[in-house]
């Protein structure tokens, strides 16, 4: 299996290189001049041109790309062109925040999603099933900038139980992780339900019941475990999305994460920040996908990587 992991990691190199090239090209295609944005609407043209020269933006694109790749090869991400702070420093604060929020949201979504999906599948087409799926649909459809604000209004402003925004303690994590986890929970619930329904109709479940196994054992050991494969795939994909920054959740809860950094970077045409953030996200996707593939083998003994 380790050989497989090593091979997959090696394959990640061209992926990341491709992403590096694409993001480099894309940030430069969007209209707007970083030097003008830094200098502001009041600055004179000579200042703007000076800034452009300082940043090397007056040099040919190919040369700029060379500098960028050269830096990457040495493990340097450069400095933010807006704040002049090293990109690494900007990322160092944001990455733990993002990982923390994504992990908490994932836990919320798995617990709620798998639980709701199983409950629904056990009593398909009952009132309970309809109710749970309706809630799931609502969770999926509610935009986080609305549901997040509602959570703040209820739990922070009205009841005063939890802090409204910001980071710092476990209490700060509760509202954003529930807000962010809800949409994902809804997807997982729907996936779990349909997968469970399919499994529950299969022959080995009938066999398990026929040999007199308790219903709880049938559901937990025989059905759920088999039903989890597609769920894991969905969870993996969602994890990538959560890590790539839940921009809206981060904005509503003033959570300094990768998503907001990326959006602010795009708005100010802060090329090094955008490049670095996108690379980190791409890397996160690669790693999460790898973990998902390895997990398949852990859940289903029939799958193994030679």
């Amino acid at each position: 299996m380790w050989a497989y992991v090593a091979k997959r990691l090696l394959l990640a190199v061209p992926v990341v290189a491709g992403v590096a090239f694409l993001v480099f090209a894309m940030v430069r295609i969007i209209p707007g001049d970083p030097a003008r944005i830094i200098a502001g609407e009041a600055a004179t043209q000579d200042v703007v041109e000076g800034i452009r020269r300082d940043l090397g933006l007056d040099r040919p694109l190919l040369q700029q790309f060379g500098t960028f790749v050269g830096g990457l090869a040495r493990g340097e991400l450069g400095r933010s062109i807006r704040s002049k702070a090293p990109v690494v420093e900007e990322l160092r604060v944001r990455i733990p925040n993002t990982v923390q929020l994504a992990a908490a949201a994932l836990i919320v979504s798995i617990v709620v999603g798998v639980g709701a999906g199983v409950v629904s599948a056990i009593r398909p087409y009952s009132m309970l099933d309809t109710g749970v799926m309706l809630v799931a649909l609502a969770g999926l459809s509610m935009p986080v900038f609305w549901s997040g604000l509602m959570m703040i209004l209820i739990f922070a402003v009205r009841l005063g139980w939890l802090p409204a925004v910001g980071t710092g303690s476990l209490a700060h994590l509760i509202l954003p992780s529930i807000t962010l986890g809800m949409a994902t929970a809804a997807i997982i619930a729907r996936m779990t339900r349909s997968s469970m329904l399919e499994v529950l109709r299969s022959d080995y479940i009938r066999t398990a019941r026929a040999k007199g196994a308790r219903e709880r054992t049938v559901i937990n050991r025989h059905a759920l475990r088999n039903a989890l494969i597609p769920v894991i795939t969905v969870v993996g994909l969602q994890m990538g999305t959560l890590l790539s920054g839940a921009v809206l959740t981060e904005s509503v809860f003033a959570w300094p994460g990768i998503g907001r950094l990326l959006v602010e970077g795009i708005l100010s045409r802060d090329y090094p920040i955008v490049q670095a953030a996108v690379l980190i996200v791409a890397l996160a996707f690669v790693i999460v996908n790898l973990i998902v593939d390895v997990l398949y083998a852990a859940v289903d003994p029939r799958i193994h990587y030679g």
Binding site: G32, E41, S83, V93, I152
Partner: protein
């Protein structure tokens, strides 16, 4: 007299919303505590010459002081300077400095430090966006440790006002030399009532009281500037009591918050004028009648009362009222018949309507996109068809900043904050014929030799009464020429918890907590 009136108006306006502020003087100020101020964006840099945004300026102002400062009432008063004299030819300014002042790192504040900072501002390699404010200064000399002399190439009346700009803050030369500009920008060292504590990027900047401050020491132990990007969440955090001050409260929330306990919403004037500019060098707006017609067609009062809930003031001059050099010139009162007559004269009819593209940003100024849509609706009544094009700020700046021969801009919306409080800054860069973009900020490509001559005289005339007359004359011509559709000056809507006393909302769009304190 005018300033007194403006001040009274501000007080009246504020008092309408803030009752606890009126009760403040009865209570003795208390020492201690941390005040939390929430704004929508993080500081970008804390190196004074590189600052171009108000979140950065707000934070920096607590740590780094200027030679002169603009009071919230609109007066230019000495800060780190003590007094000044001007030579008879108006070119040599001798400035006496305050004695015994030290930077937070112990470096003495003296004439050498002033020269270092001014030279750094003037050095093109610094890339200071506001270098043009003092680019007339040719030489800075140290007369003695307590005196500097500035020589300009021509008489330059707005010099002291321009020295009040937060970009020309006095920072420790030792710290800048030791850290280098890029690292200094994240740990500034000034002479102010607060010193730098920490900057958690994207989250907050904290400053603590400077117990060695030369003036009245601050009462607060600490001020935290927190970033809460979402307007609704920022307000919710204020209502929940997580922050003491929230900037940019959406105007529509004022009514709801009136009944809120322990919370006041204040409305303070700013120095920012919002306008719609016309490209006066290309059809259809190269015809003055067309520009005037649009000015007559738009009911500015309706926009202010509707989209902005009354939190703005209809422009009666190209600059805001609390700017030195302002005088009430005129307003284009809504007059559809006149507007239609002017359009007909210019050759447009209902059958052959005037069509134009109107570009505007979204989210940059208070309700900018809504205002653009209102203008579109209002001018439709006189048969003008505007196509709205919303642009993202970065792309918008690039689009409106192209030189005249490449520009196909017809109509655009922008705001200008005359943060030095002097008319020169609010007029010269925007209306002088030499200031067409990309050189200056004249995005309308407006040029009128008479206006140019007056604006030139305005900067070289030292006598303020004479200057005011010159600017009044220039503004009268500008308003008749109508290179802009004159809209309004924005007000700042700020939410403040009852416990936070003495917080100042400065017209230059900054929150000042220098004298603030927390009631417990």
């Amino acid at each position: 007299m005018r300033r007194v009136l403006v001040l009274l108006a501000t007080i009246a306006l504020t008092a309408t919303f803030a009752f606890s502020a009126g009760a403040a003087p009865a209570v003795t100020p208390q020492r201690g505590g941390a005040l939390i101020v929430a704004s929508g964006a993080d500081a970008v840099t804390l190196d004074a010459p590189l600052i171009t945004d108000s979140p950065s300026a707000t934070v920096l102002e607590h740590m780094v002081e200027t030679l002169y400062r603009l009071t919230p009432e609109g007066r230019i008063v000495p800060a780190l300077a003590l007094s000044h004299t001007v030579s008879a030819d108006g070119r040599t300014w001798t400035i006496r400095l305050r004695q015994g002042v030290r930077f937070h790192d112990g470096t003495p504040f003296d004439a050498e430090a002033v020269k270092f900072n001014l030279d750094r501002m003037l050095d093109p390699a610094t890339r200071a966006a506001f270098r043009f404010l003092i680019s007339r200064v040719q030489q800075v000399t140290v007369v003695d440790p307590q005196t500097v002399r500035l020589v300009t190439d021509a008489p330059f009346a707005p010099l002291l006002a321009h020295l009040s700009h937060s970009a020309i803050g006095m920072q420790s030369p030792a710290a800048i030399r030791r850290l280098g500009a890029a690292d200094y920008a994240r740990q500034p060292v000034g002479t102010g009532p607060f010193r730098f504590k920490e900057w958690v990027r994207g989250d907050r900047v904290a400053v603590t009281r400077n117990d060695e401050y030369w003036g009245d020491k601050a009462l607060l132990d600490e001020v935290q500037f927190r970033v809460i990007p979402d307007d609704g969440a920022r307000l919710a955090a204020l209502e929940a009591g997580s922050v003491h001050v929230a900037v940019r409260v959406p105007p529509r929330e004022i009514e709801r918050l009136k009944g809120a306990r322990d919370l006041t919403v204040r409305v303070d004037e700013s120095l920012r004028t919002i306008y719609i500019g016309f490209n006066v060098t290309r059809p259809p707006f190269n015809d003055r009648r067309v520009r005037q017609a649009l000015n007559y067609a738009v009911n500015k009062r309706a926009i202010v009362n509707g989209a902005l809930n009354g939190t703005a003031r209809v422009s009666d001059a190209p600059i805001a009222p609390n700017v030195e050099g302002y005088s009430k010139i005129m307003t284009y009162e809504p007059d559809f018949e006149r507007a239609e007559a002017l359009l007909r004269e210019a050759g447009y009819t209902r059958q052959r309507p005037l069509r134009a593209v109107f570009v505007h940003p979204s989210g940059r100024y208070i309700r900018d996109a809504e205002i653009a849509a209102s203008v579109q609706g209002l001018v439709r009544r006189i048969g003008v068809e505007l196509e709205l094009r919303t642009m993202e700020w970065g792309a918008y700046l690039a689009y409106t900043n192209r030189p005249q021969e490449q520009s196909d801009v017809q109509m655009y919306m922008l705001g200008w904050g005359t943060v030095t409080g002097d008319a020169d800054y609010g007029l010269y860069a925007l209306f002088h014929g030499s200031q067409w973009v990309p050189t200056g900020s004249n995005r309308s490509f407006y040029r009128n030799p008479q206006v140019d001559a007056l604006l030139d005289r305005g900067r070289t005339t030292i006598d303020q009464a004479a200057r005011n007359r010159i600017y009044a004359e220039a503004m009268k011509i500008i308003m008749e020429d109508a290179p802009w559709l004159f809209l309004h000056s924005e007000s700042q809507v700020t939410g403040v918890r009852g416990a936070a006393q003495g917080v100042v909302v400065h017209p230059a769009e900054r929150i000042e907590a220098h004298k603030a304190w927390l009631r417990r």
